[in-house]
Every structure is written in structure tokens, then in C-alpha cells.
Symmetry: C2
Subunit: 321 residues, 2 copies
Amino acid sequence: MDHVWSTYRPLLDEVERHIEKGVDSEVAIINQVARYTLQSGGKRLRPLLLLISARLCGEVKPNHLRLAQVIEFIHTATLLHDDVIDNATLRRGVVPARTIWGNKTSILVGDYLYTLAICQSVAMENTQINYALSTACRRMSEGETLQLAHQCHYDMTEDTYLRIIEYKTATLLSASCRLGAIGNTSEEKQEAVARFGLRLGIAYQIADDTLDYVAEDERFGKSLGTDIHEGKVTLPLLHLFENASPSDRERLREITGQRRIYRKDLTYIIEQMKRHHSISYAMQTAQRYTDLAKRELDPFKDSIHCQALLTVSDYVVRRGH
Amino acid sequence: MDHVWSTYRPLLDEVERHIEKGVDSEVAIINQVARYTLQSGGKRLRPLLLLISARLCGEVKPNHLRLAQVIEFIHTATLLHDDVIDNATLRRGVVPARTIWGNKTSILVGDYLYTLAICQSVAMENTQINYALSTACRRMSEGETLQLAHQCHYDMTEDTYLRIIEYKTATLLSASCRLGAIGNTSEEKQEAVARFGLRLGIAYQIADDTLDYVAEDERFGKSLGTDIHEGKVTLPLLHLFENASPSDRERLREITGQRRIYRKDLTYIIEQMKRHHSISYAMQTAQRYTDLAKRELDPFKDSIHCQALLTVSDYVVRRGH
């Protein structure tokens, strides 16, 4: 993966310059909050996907660099709203904007970044691009709402879980890939690349929901504790609820219903997950979606840029985003 | 004004049907919250302006009915977010969505309505329309942020106050008028209609900020109390702070800085406003913007639909929206 990052570093640096210059409101506090959040340690996975996808389908044009910035603005807008929704106190080890400037400012600067991104998209005067971005934004808000409506629903079906993560996460990864392909290749190949992004996004979110649980350090308890506290339903938890004995399920329900989460309860859940292989089940599911994603790249297998996307595919289910 | 409403009632009824059918998410809670907020007693001033403007410049086409719905969705999205920002417990005498479904759902359904509106705009495949709507949305978020950043700034200049209300309110009224004119008349006349909407929007917001203060019933104290409690700077308050003697200003500062607002303090402020003619100053300013708005309609004065817009202009600085 290091090789992929370094190959695309010059292009990503150009995207970075667009990101730095892109927020230019006459309202000073907007620039301050937006720039703070944009510089809070994101790896720029979505811009990377867009750029590789552009290379895969043709060439990287100036609009692609701009679109990579637009995608990152949309992603950042969702983070600003998510952090308010989740009462987050940390993101990627950094204090979120809501802690510094308050929830209200976070909501409004999120609105600003959303609408700025749409303005920039509209300025490109390309219907396909406008469609791809606006439908992705709508879908994401549906996914976030669906997730909120299913807080603590540990009896939801796996299909519902998959729908939530598809909408809230995979949609934007899919749009990133599609935007690299639009105007660069056939309709058919555009769809293939978009489907690749969608499958990959699902794998990515499952892995993201699961990987902290297998960390050796203190992240395990912390992530599990945070998820339970927020009523966030992850695939390992869902699997555990489905496979636990009736009496264990009763205890799990008590634990997840508590206002306070105790260390001993987390230990109990971890033991149960080990017993029922819930984490390996979740990671296998992520791997299955990665494999499905990779298969979508078959039409491109003669391209040297295909390998970069395959590498990214393995990377997202391993670690580090 | 009754005559204007009844003239446009058949068209507004068609818009209403678009509004009812327009929200069609597969996420049930989104439909519920969005429909509740859309049916919370708005008078549909923005759709009315769009329709009259279309008539003034040419004819009302099917897209205008759809755009009137789009504008109302955007307006409703801002209300959902505003109510969270303002901790509102009532809007137009109705309990807001945030009280029933919570702040988080309000934020996300606001996001949904914003992005749905943009999707519908994009589907019309008209660059001018996309520009008008997306830049209006961006401006509004700037206005809201500017307002939040200036909470309790009773020493702001009148120019700053005017900029805030232009961005947060007048922008969308201006876009409503422009959308009626796009494709229906010359560029020059489109600009005139847009400027009419902008001036009218400023008059509208000043009047809205002021008129409750002159009500005979209990609204006076309530509105003034709410504004002060929220740190909302209205033109009468701004005028009062500017014109009060140093010692009175000191007392005003103490009152507005309190956590609790007492009846006797409101009475004091009202007396001071009377003494300094702050309310009539604000209403004169509103009237000045109404006059400026009307003047923009000079190129249309031979049209019979011009009279409807003049009537609306007088209406917004009188009462009832």
C-alpha cells in the first residue's frame, strides 16, 4: 500500500492544495472550522480511489483533482454532523470541531461544506457529475437516519445492517470511483467501477466496525464500550446476539441496556464473541465483499492501474484508515 | 392580499400536491418527520413569489410548480436545522420536529431535504437553475453561521445586521423570484426580479424581527424575551443600544447578559424603545427596503401581474407570515 500512496502522492498533493484553497468564505469562522476539520488527519482514501479510478479508465484531468476535493468536502460535512449526532469527543485521536466551537457551529459549517461542494459540482456543468454527487448525498443522509432509527436494535437483520452501511458509507466510496470513470470510459465500465466502490465500501465499514475489537492494546475495550454506549450495532455484536443462548442473550441485553458500561461486562462480551467466533465471522463477511469488489475489476485486468485498486481493496480490510 | 392568495390558489394547490408526493424516502421515519414539518402551517410565501414571478415574466410551466416545491423543501430544511440551533420549542404555534423526534433526527432529516431538493434540481438539467439553488443554499448557511457568531453582539453595525438577514433570509426569496424568471425573460429582467426578491427579503426579515414587539397581546413580551434569551440581535434592539445614554446602555447590557429575563426588565426595554422610537425606526427601515424592492419592478409596470407583487410587498411589512 505504501507503494500506492507514493505513486499517487504528487496528485494527492495537488488535491491537497485544492482543499486548502477551496474553503474561501467571507465568514471567517467558517474557514476556521472547516479547515480545522479538513486537516484532522484524514488519509484521503476517497480522493485516492477517485484518482486511481480515473487512471484506470483513462487519464487524470484537472476536473478530477477538483472533484477529489469536492468528495473530501462532502465527507467532511458528514463528519461534522456525525460528531454532533454521536456526541463524539475524539475522532482519529483529534478533538472534533464540536468540542471547540460547539454543536451549533458544527451543524452550520457542515451545511456550508455540503452546499459549497454542490456549488462546485454545479460549476462543472456536467449532468452526470451532478447526479452522482447529489444522489450520493441524499443516500448518505438516509443511511445516517436509518442508523439512528436502529440504535440499540440488536435484533435487526444482517440485511438491515448491510443496508445502513451501504447507504451511509459505501455510497460515497462508490461515487468517488464513478467520478473518476465518468467521461473517461464506457457506461458499462463506469457501472463496474461504481459497483467496485460500493462493495469495497461495505467491506471497509464492516472492517472499521470490527478491527478495533481485535486490537491487542486498550483500543478493544474502548471501541466496544463506545459502540455499546452509543447503541451502535456492529456486525460482531449482531452475530453474537443471534448466536448466543437465550440466557446469554438476556444478559447481553441487560449489559447493552445499562447507562454505564463496566469493564467486567466488556470482558464477558469479548469472551462470548470468541466463543461464537463473531469477530472472525465479521471479518470473513468483510473479506467476502472485498472479493466481490475485486471481481468487478475483471474488465480492467489488463490495466496496470488495476493492481493499485486491488492493493487498496486488501488494505481497507486490514487496517489503518 | 386575500385576492392574491385566491388568484394563485389553484396553482398553489398543485404545488401542495408536489409537496405531498415529493418526500418519498424508503426510510419511513424521514417521510414522517419531513411531512410533519412541511405541514406545520407555513403560508408558502416562497412558492407564491416564484409563481407570480413566472407569470410576470411569461408563463407558469410544469417545472415552476416543481421548483416551488423544491424551494419549500430547502426552506423546510433550514427550519429543521434552525430549530435545533435555537433550541426552539414552538414554531408558528406548532411543536417543532426536534421536540418530538429529537435534535439528531431533525439534523439528519434537514440534510435529507436539502439533498433531495438538490437532486430534484439536478434532474431538471438546467445549469442556471442549479446555480440559483446551490448558491442560495451556500449563502444561507453563511448567514446562519454569521448570525450565530454574532449572538449577543449588540454593538454590531447595522451593516452587519443587514448582511446577516440578507444572507439567511433574503437570498432564498431572491432565488424564488429568479427561478420564476429563468428561461421566461431577458437576463436583465431576471436580475431585476432577483433584486426585487432580495430587497423584499430584507424588508420581510426586519418586519418579522420587529412586528411582534408592537403586538397588543402577550406576544410582545414573549418575542422580546425569546430574542434576548437567544442573544438574537434585532434591529429595534440594535437601534436602542446605539441611542441609549451610557448609563442606560450599561443597564441594557446587564439585562441582556442575564440568564433569566424578568418581566420588569422587558417593561424597561419597551419603555426605552418607545422613548428612542426604535420600533418605528426599524419599521421605517423595512419600509425603505420595500420601496427599493418595488422600484425594481419598474420594467414590468405594464404587466397586470406586477400589481400582485406590489401587494405582496406591502403585505410582508404589515403582518402575518
